[in-house]
Symmetry: C2
DNA sequence: AAATTAAATTTCAAATATAGAAATATTAAA
DNA sequence: TTTAATATTTCTATATTTGAAATTTAATTT
């Protein structure tokens, strides 16, 4: 057998996950319904999480996220130092290109946004720090898959179903393998509105001195020109930026 | 009796708290020692937290914070919208004054840093988002105590021991009460190196249209002049800034 | 203002999941 | 290769959690 997992802790985090799914307030009844658990149990977990400081009760039975997570989140981002090291590069990149940029790491089968920089325009496409991006239908995700150890990639392909999300999503494992081969040859990945309609992206890997991929940088936005006319220019700047990161790592 | 608290969840967060106390990596043996729990138990909790995605195993038995918290932290900060609303005010303030500035809320008996802006200088005093500041020996903390409901303040005073941290820490309840009365009269609070040697601060409350205190703003740094020669000027600017927040809330 | 309803909270016994001892596996150091 | 230290698994007594039922609280309708 493998190490035994504590069910209470799992349940507590399932409740916390409800907050990441767009809710900002939660009651015992809502949590119970959403997770299909007993309402009394939900009630007790909410109170336990409040006792700890993870949640704050705003009125009888109504809970919000507490600032405890602000600290843990801040630590998670700065402990590797990666996010901090990449931030100035992203800032410069976003200024230069006039488009939103971000950096990811790969964790639990998905690309996770660890830093971003937004363009100085009134309207732009934004992403939340900590957001998790599907591996098979995003530029970052495909990049990570492409540069992953082969056996890990195979394992990933075996356990993941390629469910169509937009008209452009790649849903055939064979097609995806071909795409990943291409990405490895090209050294960059494209998202052609495969995850969200009208959202395009161009991503390149960031490697350390040993050639190991430690992050990925991208430009993203609502303009298809990112991956058509402007692709060569953007690509050059992205690759320069990715290279300039190495010195700081 | 009161709602029963789930011990497993409490234990899980005690382990996570070890990370906020300056550690970036943890093993079962270390956790067990730090929390005086059985090593096998610690081992299982670490694995449970990894299973959930709260931690990541970097090598056999060695764990780091996962980026799950980046998302929860981001949500916690933006859900109230307070941090986002105050950020531009802080940025401007830090630029104008050439000193570090921050904003807090009051949660679980302490002032919690929810936003900050740093001066454009090579060396400066920094604070981590999410850091919790003792109520009795910081400018923010004393401000919150001063403007709190009287019965809550009394309850707080009853359950808290005023332990000296620096030579300037106020340790007598009577003296603290007098200080809080003074703060209420003045409308601002000072930290005269009461929490950290050579760290000074000046803080003012942010109120909403109903006059309820919803945040606090401060200038802080390593220069005593913050609370001596420059106090009048800084105070004026802080109070203007605090006032300007109201429109955004 | 009283009655009604819905949800939150507490109490208690049964069921279950957790804790820790002991054994084993793994890694690093000598 | 041996030794030592720590990580991991197995097993079962026991402490903890669970959920039904009862009670309290607050909001909504009459």
């Amino acid at each position: 057998m493998t190490t035994q997992i504590n069910g209470s802790v799992v349940k507590a985090f399932k409740i916390l996950d409800l907050f990441t799914e767009g809710r900002s307030e939660l009651t015992a009844t809502e949590a119970a319904r959403a997770l299909k658990i007993n309402m009394i149990t939900a009630h007790r977990f909410l109170h336990t999480l409040e006792h700890i400081g993870a949640l704050v009760m705003v009125s009888r039975g109504v809970f919000r996220l507490g600032y405890l997570f602000a600290e843990l989140g801040d630590r998670a981002l700065r402990d590797g130092g990666l996010a901090a090291a990449l931030q100035p590069v992203l800032d410069q990149l976003a200024r230069d290109l006039g488009e939103a940029c971000m950096a990811t790491v790969f964790e639990r089968d998905m690309a996770v946004c660890i830093a971003k920089a937004l363009p100085d325009r009134p309207l732009y496409v934004d992403i939340r720090i900590g957001s998790r991006l599907d591996a098979f239908c995003t530029a970052h995700g495909k990049l990570w898959l492409a540069f992953m150890e082969e056996d890990q990639r195979d394992a990933w392909l075996n356990r993941t179903r390629l469910q169509a999300i937009t008209a452009n999503t790649i849903t055939s494992p064979t097609a995806l393998r071909q795409e990943l081969d291409q990405i490895r040859r090209d050294g960059y990945a494209v998202n052609n509105a495969e995850r969200e309609k009208d959202i395009y992206a161009l991503a390149v890997p960031v490697t350390n001195r040993n050639g190991k991929m430690i992050s990925a940088l991208s430009v993203f936005g609502a303009s298809a020109s990112l991956i058509t006319q402007n692709r060569p220019t953007l690509l050059t700047r992205l690759q320069e930026a990715a290279k300039s990161c190495q010195t700081g790592l």
